[in-house]
């Protein structure tokens, strides 16, 4: 005994048995996925549907004929598998390929700070966790200046806003259609299997148990990774905080209290600054060192509480402030160097061109 399903293909009524219906349904879904990125998708699908109706009509031997699996298989043979469709139209594939090219975006759906890490992760097909860990490592190794690079990346890299952006970000590979289709098929398979199993109570409980076990493992792993990331976040926050406080104290004592008793020769030069009050270069120095640590601090907060509000505006402000202070500091330094070193000698070296002889 077989159940039959009533379907409506291009406004034509058909009776189809359940198994055949499943095959047909899957075929139509595959088609939909195949053309999901093609212009005029709706029309193509409509026409194919109409053609399927035509073919079914031809195999209908009498009025109450029920379309069976053989009819569906024959229809698919005539029309071909969706992957063969694409094969014959190169310009179109080239076009979709182009739109499938990967682009670097920030993934704000999955972000701790600005989504730079996950964006890069998508770009290189690496789990974002590793990129984040690398960022943190780099931040430490570079003494905080990497946080600035992060800030710059944040400003420069576009946010993935539209659906197309998100697809590009994840860079669907050239044979996207096949991959998507496979995933979908597998998903459908699993779904179907689960559905069938649901009827069978005994099997069902076993399946659920094993599923539960794997979900548990997954959760455990996620928890471990999460806590690791959280710990790193706390370390970042504390480090940055200490550095900032320390720097602030030393800045204040340097600039205003005038308590300078460091035996470091590099600070001697500060007394000979001719044009500027001492606190200006010191402030600039303070800013250029401490701002990267502020970044680390923010990074730490974001890692610790991902739900914290993004600091977008503050970051841009800080980056500009940092750049400004570094540039001014450089100018002052160069200026002072020129003033203090009268002994700059310019040597002209004549380059002898043997060709001219």
């Amino acid at each position: 005994m077989n159940k039959t399903v009533n379907i409506n293909l291009a406004s034509t009524f058909f009776q189809i048995d359940e198994e055949a219906y499943k095959v047909l349904n899957q075929y139509l879904k595959k088609l939909e996925i195949t053309f999901s990125e093609t212009d005029g998708k709706e029309e193509i699908l409509e026409e194919i549907e109409a053609r399927i109706a035509e073919l079914f009509q031809a195999s209908k031997k009498h009025n109450h004929y029920v379309i069976n699996q053989d009819d569906v298989t024959k229809m698919i043979e005539t029309l071909g598998e969706p992957e063969d469709f694409i094969f014959e139209e190169e310009p179109q594939t080239r076009k979709t390929q182009k739109s499938n090219e990967k682009k670097l975006f920030r993934d704000t759906d999955d972000c701790y700070i600005g989504g730079v890490g996950s964006g890069i992760g998508h770009y290189f097909v690496i789990d974002a966790v590793w990129i984040r860990l690398l960022f943190i490592l780099l931040t430490f190794l570079s003494g905080g200046s990497f946080a600035l690079i992060y800030g710059i990346l944040w400003v420069l890299i576009q946010k993935a806003e539209s659906r197309a952006d998100k697809l590009k970000m994840k860079g669907e590979p050239v044979n996207i259609v096949n991959i998507k289709r496979k995933i979908k098929e597998e998903f459908d398979d699993v779904k179907e299997k689960i559905n069938q199993v649901d009827y069978d109570q005994a099997k069902s409980s076993l399946k659920k148990k094993s599923k539960n076990f794997f979900t548990f493992l997954e959760n455990l792993l996620a928890l471990l990774l999460n806590s690791l990331v959280k710990i790193v976040g706390v370390i970042l926050i504390l480090t940055a905080l200490f550095v900032i406080i320390g720097l602030s104290i030393s800045f204040i004592s340097f600039a205003f209290i005038g308590f300078i008793d460091f035996p470091l020769p590099m600070f001697d030069g500060f007394f000979e600054l001719s044009f500027y009050p001492l606190w200006i270069p010191l402030l600039l120095l303070f800013l250029s060192i401490s701002i990267p640590f502020v970044f680390i601090f923010i990074l730490g907060i974001k890692i610790f509480t991902p739900s914290a509000k993004p600091f977008g505006f503050v970051i841009i402000l800080l980056v500009s402030l940092w750049l400004l202070s570094v540039i001014i500091l450089g100018c002052i330094g160069a200026n002072e160097l020129c003033n203090n070193l009268d002994l700059i000698q310019c040597q002209t070296i004549e380059i002898w061109h043997p060709i001219n002889i």
Binding site: A10, S11, T12, F35, T38, D39, G40, E43, I44, E47, I48, A50, R51, A53, E54, Q57, T78, L79, G80, E81, P82, D84, F85, I86, F87, E88, E89, E90, P91, Q92
Partner: protein
């Protein structure tokens, strides 16, 4: 390399030219186009035609209209646009050139074979 792949590639190359010429002669609906293509052994599977027609329509080389049919659902009749006609003329001259070039090479090859026999 499989011979099927090579011939499929060949057919693929001229499919647009074939379809445009077909519709140039007479307005056709999709199933008629399919029948002609199958007669000419231009097709491996039918499905390739739909995206191709849609693309030709999108670049405005073709246009279509719906027509009621006495049996079954309304049919989509394709006709060629003025742009399509100019395009077809260009394709034709390109095809003739290609044909000539390929003929020269293939003929000379056959002659070469005969001489060596």
């Amino acid at each position: 390399m499989k011979i099927e792949n090579a011939t499929a590639q060949m057919r693929k190359g001229v499919l647009e030219y074939y379809i445009l010429s077909l519709i140039f002669k007479k307005d056709l609906y999709t199933s008629e186009i399919l029948v002609s293509l199958k007669k000419g052994k231009m097709l491996v599977v039918e499905g390739t035609v739909y995206p191709l027609l849609s693309r030709l329509k999108n670049v405005k080389l073709l246009t279509y209209r719906w027509e009621e049919s006495s049996s079954g659902p309304p049919r989509k009749y394709y006709s060629i646009t003025p742009e399509g006609k100019t395009f077809l003329i260009d394709l034709e001259s390109a095809w003739k050139e290609l044909n000539k070039a390929v003929n020269i090479i293939t003929k000379s090859k056959i002659r070469y074979n005969e001489q060596n026999r």
